[in-house]
């Protein structure tokens, strides 16, 4: 093709190359397509088809974990949080959380873990903390991607590792699946969500009319229209907010948030994270009562606002 085709040459070249291209696509038309119909029409579940070194969710076998915090130290983005306490003679882990939502699945923690382990069905030995082939972790709330390997009430004792021995561990993936299930069930928003939909859930119970009426009766005497902003702020902070000064609402302390509401600087009354639905409802009740609304009116408005915010 070195010499440039003339007027008719161009037509011949165009015809031939177009025909060549169409021959290729027609040949492809009769070949087997390469699409794998994940997730429902695969011969085996996808997790089993992945290679052994696949870097999916992390899992920690708490029986062989020596609480040496090597993984927490070496993780480039600090997604591992371990709390160790002294209990009697040994050391005990009360908390071992890994934020899988923030983790970048690089595997550096596995390399820095000193404790080797041999899982059944694996060709190569792995470590106490290791990556599994689990990867399906879609959830509605970011915080439910934090895997908590230590149960709330059952701290795990630190394991004493003898040099040179390779302790056995369960098959890779079991612990990860269990922990993921627990994470989905126990995270704050999942609780809120399931509550709203379960009969007699906390939110539903909070918004049940009589509970609201009882709460209004408690608050009403303390809240009158003559209350100054300072006093009103004190009532809000005292009665409604979670008093944890956690800063989730964007204000340094609960008292500051309450003052801002009372003065009118802060419009949003639902920002108390720890307090959740209960705080939102109570703040609305106090503000409505302070504005001189009748108990019933205040109750209705508070319920409406809470439902809207915490649906």
């Amino acid at each position: 093709m070195s010499e440039r085709p003339g007027y008719f040459g161009k037509i011949a070249v165009a015809a031939r190359t177009v025909a060549e291209g169409m021959a290729v696509t027609l040949a492809q038309y009769f070949r087997r397509p390469t699409t794998v119909q994940y997730p429902d029409r695969t011969r085996v579940p996808v997790v089993d088809s992945l290679p052994e070194r696949y870097r999916g969710f992390l899992e920690v076998d708490m029986d062989v974990c020596t609480a040496c915090k090597a993984c927490e130290r070496d993780c480039p983005i600090d997604v591992i949080a371990i709390d160790v306490e002294k209990r009697g003679d040994g050391r005990v882990m009360t908390r071992f959380d890994i934020d899988m939502g923030k983790c970048m699945y690089c595997g550096i923690c596995v390399e820095s873990c000193p404790v080797p382990a041999q899982a059944p069905g694996d060709a190569e030995p792995t470590k106490c903390i290791r990556m599994t082939r689990e990867f399906e972790g879609a959830t509605g709330e970011f915080s439910s991607l934090t895997f908590r390997f230590v149960e709330a009430g059952a701290p795990a004792p630190a394991y004493k590792h003898q040099k040179g021995t390779v302790p056995a561990t369960p098959e890779r993936g079991q612990i990860a699946r269990a922990v993921r299930q627990r994470a989905r069930a126990a995270n704050p928003t999942a609780v809120r969500w399931s509550r709203v939909h379960q009969e007699g859930g906390a939110l539903a119970e909070l918004l049940a009319h009589d509970a609201v009426r009882a709460r209004v009766a408690e608050l009403a005497p303390g809240v009158t229209t003559e209350l100054g902003p300072g006093a009103l702020g004190a009532v809000i902070a005292g009665e409604a907010l979670a008093k944890t000064d956690c800063g989730a609402c964007g204000w340094p302390t609960c008292r500051a948030y309450a003052e801002a509401i009372a003065v009118g600087k802060e419009r949003a009354l639902h920002k108390c994270g720890p307090g959740g639905a209960k705080a939102t409802r109570d703040v609305h009740l106090i503000v409505e009562l302070a504005r001189g609304a009748t108990p019933d009116e205040a109750a209705m408005r508070a319920m409406a606002a809470t439902l809207r915010r915490h649906r």
């Binding site: 021959a23 290729v24 696509t25 390469t34 699409t35 794998v36």
Partner: protein
């Protein structure tokens, strides 16, 4: 499950509507058939007569004796014209002097002492459409009260309904077929979840678009914006009037069929420009401008190629073009002579350009203009544009079949046997649809193989390559029809079929087999199973 329920409901509703329309029409048709016998004088044209002009009067049967002295009188105007019976059922009257205007009056022909008059309530100032529809309307007009034109209108609307009803379904099926072909050509599967093996995907898409919100941009030119899609749909729907799907399945056999076809498709240009301009977005404007330039400039080679066929057949009527071709491939216009062979490719590529199909899909080029003129459309209004585009592919297939591939002609069946056995018409229809779908497959196949032209290359291709070749074909055809005797023409047809048809396709099949042989399939991880497991 909720979603599947709504889809099922819609499907049942649609089927019921179709069934209802069918029964209603069948009822009318039955009622219509028992019409009284026709008036002796069936038709008299033209209706406005100037001095010296001649008028043709047709009878519904062989009534006149040729050569006898005949006179034609307009009863309402009281005017009598000398006439001559040129055939048993035809009389030609000439207007001697002064302008005679014929209003809605009856016509009587007198020969010797015999007199025949036309039926007052059947105005025949226009040749409406297919004879069957014509008779149907007459029947209604005869049996029920009300002005005749009302029943004509009803008959037309009924015909339009019959033609329009399947359009969305046809477009939908072609869309699904395209997505499946593009899938297999791209080593994918294509839709296979909605309905049997994915063939109800079009219904799901249609429903989805119906349910989607229909947004009109704030500063858009609202009236133009809303009107654009319907104009495009109208333009595309009108082309179905002249398409002869089979011997009887043609809405109206216009004498100017091809001309009508070309002029109607330009409505689509207007609608695309309206859509592009009124969306008030620079990208849409660019898309609209490109498509206007493209369709207008490719109108020229397309019409010249059609003219080549018209000169070969000697008539613009689609019916006669199909009738002029034989059923066997070497009798098709495509292989009739070298000029029509080249004209086919010119017409085909120009039709691709007019349908905004790759390699000419510049107006809605995904990588440059995002979606060109229909970027701002959404919901039902958006669904009309793709519907028009995919119906256009079917129309390209249909026009290609009727002009070049011998339309509904079935081998071993000529016009006479067709009169006798009406069911053969269905075979003709099937043959027509098969050839149509073959061309549609090629159109889709091209889209998933070739890249896109740049605007100036597209224009350059049209004006420096296509138009000169189209003129050469047109003039060549004139000379061919004039000089080449019919026997030599048949021989040329056979030769063309041998070289062009068999030779080219044999080479192409060898290239495809070569590609298939070289590719070695590889499977690294077959645990999951590929393709349609």
């Amino acid at each position: 499950m909720r979603w599947a329920a709504t889809a099922l409901l819609a499907l049942v509703g649609f089927a019921a509507a179709l069934l209802l329309a069918g029964c209603a029409l069948a009822g009318c048709a039955l009622a219509g058939c028992a019409a009284p016998e026709l008036a002796p004088i069936r038709d008299a044209r033209p209706t406005q007569l100037q001095a010296g002009e001649r008028m043709l009067v047709e009878a519904s049967g062989p009534l006149f004796t040729v050569g006898a002295e005949t006179r034609v009188t307009f009863d309402a105007l009281g005017v009598t014209l000398p006439a001559r019976a040129i055939a048993a059922d035809r009389v030609v009257a000439t207007a001697p002097s002064g302008a005679h205007v014929m209003g809605p009056s009856t016509v009587t022909v007198t020969q010797g002492e015999q007199r025949w008059t036309s039926d007052a309530r059947a105005p025949f100032d226009v040749e409406l459409c297919a004879p069957s529809l014509h008779r149907l309307a007459n029947g209604w007009a005869a049996r029920w009260p009300g002005p005749a034109w009302l029943w004509w209108m009803l008959a037309l609307v009924a015909a339009a309904a019959i033609v329009a009803a399947p359009l969305p379904v046809v477009a939908g099926l072609i869309v699904v077929w395209e997505r499946k072909i593009s899938g297999y050509m791209g080593s994918r599967i294509g839709p296979n979840r909605v309905g049997p093996n994915g063939w109800l995907q079009w219904l799901a898409d249609g429903l989805k678009l119906l349910m989607k919100e229909d947004i009109v941009p704030a500063e858009a030119d609202a009236r133009l914006f809303r009107a654009a899609p319907y104009l495009a749909f109208l333009g595309m729907f009108l082309t179905f009037i002249v398409l002869p799907f089979s011997r009887y399945a043609i809405v109206a056999d216009l004498d100017v069929g091809l001309l009508f076809l070309l002029s109607v498709t330009s409505l689509v240009v207007v609608s695309i420009l309206m859509g592009g301009w009124s969306s008030n977005s620079k990208w849409s404007l660019l898309g609209g401008m490109r498509s206007a330039a493209q369709i207008v400039s490719y109108e020229l080679p397309a019409s010249l190629a059609l003219l080549t066929i018209a000169t070969l057949t000697g008539s613009l009527s689609t019916e006669r073009i199909v009738a002029a071709q034989g059923a066997w491939p070497w009798q098709w216009n495509l292989f009739r002579d070298p000029f029509t062979f080249v004209a086919f490719f010119i017409w085909f590529v120009s039709a691709l350009a007019e349908g905004n199909r790759t390699p000419f899909d510049l107006p809605e080029a995904e990588s440059e203009l995002v979606a060109g003129y229909n970027t701002e459309y959404s919901g039902f209004r958006f669904s009309l544009f793709p519907l028009v585009e995919w119906v256009n592919i079917a129309v390209i297939g249909a026009v290609g079949t009727l002009l070049f591939l011998g339309g509904w002609r079935v081998p071993f069946v000529d016009a006479a046997t067709l009169e006798g056995h009406a069911w053969l018409d269905a075979v003709g229809f099937a043959v027509f649809v098969a050839k149509d779908l073959a061309i549609v497959f090629v159109v889709i196949w091209i889209r998933w193989t070739l890249p896109r032209f740049r605007v100036d290359q597209m224009m350059n291709l049209c004006w420096t390559y296509f138009i000169p070749f189209a003129f050469v074909c047109f003039v060549g055809e004139l000379v061919w029809v004039w000089l080449v005797p019919s026997t030599a023409a048949k021989l040329a047809g056979g030769a063309m079929f041998a070289i062009g048809g068999v030779g080219l396709s044999a080479w192409f099949v060898s290239r495809v087999r070569d590609n298939a042989r070289r590719y070695q399939d590889l499977v690294l991880n077959d645990a999951l199973g590929r393709g349609n497991t």
